[in-house]
């Protein structure tokens, strides 16, 4: 039995190695001059959508500046506001704009850096390619239960939604469902990746995922004829979008400012786009 255990440990080790051998980011070649002569720690927490961007940026900065240490944690937008407000971290990320109360209570300063859009997705074989927000709301509320009612073939609609902590769910619920109800029998998946996998497999599925995650395995449905693309999200034609923010308590100290500037630089832009988010400019 010990041999089998060690064999499985070996397999897991190999998997870990394979994962860590993923190609390095291009941003490492980018100039990181803003950090000259700076040293210290930057602690980041909050929104989970930000994590891939923050981690890549942190890795690039730390590689070029060995005296800078950056930690990145999640927790969600609410945690991001609280932690930065209490001074526990230097940057608190949120996937939504701060409320006036939050700004006033903690004296926070926001730095938007990317746009994240959410697309309604169905199986690629599904003939339905266009839905109105009204129809999407009724589908998720369980009022429309058959694809035939929205121009598809006769088949039950299988609902897929996201977990309570999901920022993607929050945008979709606010901007597309207009805070309408989601049927309790909807399947809940825990990530954008799991959503894509579930919708790609199920011919009768409907779900939603970040525009950056959409590929050929699923069909992104038009909302009132507007294609959910990065261009439409940027121009404001596609409504189900949000901005991603970094927030600091008051003016950031020089090291934190340098990090924020790096995220907003062209090199940071490359990292942002690599993870499927849209640049503000």
């Amino acid at each position: 039995m010990a041999r089998f255990l060690s064999a499985s440990v070996l397999i897991m080790l190999m998997a870990v190695l394979a994962l860590s051998a993923a190609p390095p980011t291009r941003a490492q070649e980018a100039p990181l001059t803003g950090f000259n002569n700076l040293e210290g720690n930057i602690d980041i927490a909050g929104g989970t959508a930000h994590i891939p961007v923050m981690k890549d940026a942190a890795a690039a900065v730390m590689k070029a500046n060995p005296k800078v240490r950056i930690t990145v944690a999640g927790g969600g937008s609410g945690v991001g506001v609280q932690k930065v407000g209490e001074g526990l971290v230097d940057i608190g990320n949120t996937g939504r704009a701060l409320t006036p109360q939050e700004v006033e209570k903690f004296g926070l300063k926001s730095f938007p850096f990317a746009i994240d859009g959410v697309a309604v997705a169905v199986h690629p074989g599904n003939p339905v390619g266009n839905l109105s927000p009204q129809q999407v709301q009724e589908i998720f509320a369980g009022k429309i239960t058959d694809w035939k009612a929205v121009g598809g073939k006769e088949a039950p609609i299988n609902l897929f939604s996201r977990d309570e902590a999901s920022g993607t769910r929050e945008v979709f619920w606010e901007k597309c469902l207009k805070k309408g109800p989601v049927l309790e029998k909807a399947n809940i998946v825990a990530s954008n990746g799991a959503m894509k996998m579930a919708v790609a497999q199920d011919p009768n599925a409907i779900g939603y995922l970040g525009i950056g995650h959409v590929d050929k395995t699923v069909r992104a449905v038009k909302l009132d004829g507007v294609e959910p693309t990065q261009e439409n999200a940027k121009s404001g034609k596609y409504p189900v979008v949000r901005q991603l923010y970094m927030n600091t308590k008051g003016e950031p100290k020089p090291l934190v400012k340098a990090f924020i500037d790096f995220i907003l630089s062209p090199a940071g832009g490359q990292i942002i786009q690599k993870h499927g988010y849209i640049l503000l400019k």
């Binding site: 089998f4 897991m12 609410g78 299988n158 309570e164 902590a165 029998k185 809940i188 825990a190 199920d202």
Partner: protein
């Protein structure tokens, strides 16, 4: 697992006896330390759960959490559907895995000198080393589409799929526990059984199983504990809908999956509080399972 050596076995001369005694105290102290640390860890976990759950009770929110509806965005934070989901899933997995486990074990034991018997045991031992996520992943790609197309109802992410996957996960636990009990039958009993003219299968059925009855019960309890505690299979294939399932093709959410899904939410909301209530319920379940096991393993009065 016969690798543990008696520390006194290799000490030949008298002076080395003292060294052996010193080593004995050393080992004993180390083991005591390890026990204390794990004991403290358990107490710390319980304390932590109580610290975060008790405010819910005192602020009168316990009633809101021990309710039947989970609609966090409409202000309903009931986790009872998840309690039911955990129990339904664990019992159905046990119901599926237990007969198979007992059967496999009986077969492997009666045929232990036959290649087939040895193969079965080897496969079951290999299964203990497979990480849970592998079962979940294979199930998502294999079992979920099968269930969806066969029954033509629902998404395939459901109680049935999760129950089947989980039953495979807990099968080795059941088989190996029963096996360890069967192995404890004395050679005299075996010889007597053979002398009486029992065939191998009769021997297992009428001699070994009755002797290992406590082991059989313990295997069921431990299998249940493993099924209740598993998170990943439920999270990946059960569908996670916070509802009371009435059909095996309905999605369900377990307490473990609930914790995983809700943990990252805003720490001031009642949804976050429900995580600690779920943790406390799971802790109590684990404690109950362990008490039942202790009771079963104690020598008969």
């Amino acid at each position: 697992m016969a690798s543990g050596q008696n520390p006194l076995a290799d000490t030949g001369a008298a002076p080395s006896l003292r060294r052996a005694a010193r080593r004995e105290t050393l080992v004993r102290t180390a083991l005591l330390g390890a026990t204390l640390i794990s004991g403290l860890a358990i107490c710390a976990i319980l304390g932590f759960l109580l610290y975060f759950s008790l405010p819910l009770v005192f602020q009168g929110q316990a009633g809101e959490i021990l309710a039947w509806r989970w609609r966090p965005f409409q202000g309903d934070f009931g986790i009872l559907p998840m309690v039911v989901g955990s129990l339904l899933l664990a019992f159905s997995a046990l119901f599926l895995a237990y007969p198979v486990g007992v059967g496999l074990c009986g077969f492997a034991f009666s045929q232990q000198h036959h290649p087939w018997g040895r193969l079965v045991l080897a496969v079951v031992r290999l299964m203990t080393g497979v990480p849970t996520v592998v079962y979940g992943f294979v199930s998502v790609f294999l079992l979920v589409p099968l269930v969806r197309t066969w029954f033509e109802q629902g998404t395939g992410f459901c109680w049935l799929t999760a129950g089947l996957t989980l039953s495979i996960l807990i099968l080795p636990t059941i088989v190996l526990l029963i096996w360890s009990q069967l192995e404890q039958t004395t050679p005299e009993t075996r010889l007597a059984a053979i002398a009486l003219g029992f065939t191998p299968s009769q021997e297992v059925l009428w001699v070994h199983f009755p002797q290992a009855s406590r082991g059989l019960a313990a295997a069921a309890v431990l299998g249940f504990g493993r099924a209740v505690g598993d998170t990943l299979v439920a999270l990946m294939v059960a569908g996670n809908a916070p509802q009371i399932s009435t059909s095996p093709l309905d999605a369900l959410r377990t307490l473990t999956a609930h914790i995983a899904l809700v943990l990252a939410t805003d720490s001031t909301s009642l949804a976050y509080g429900s995580v600690f209530a779920s943790g406390l319920i799971l802790f109590a379940t684990a404690a109950a399972v362990n008490l039942a096991l202790r009771r079963l393993k104690a020598p008969p009065p």
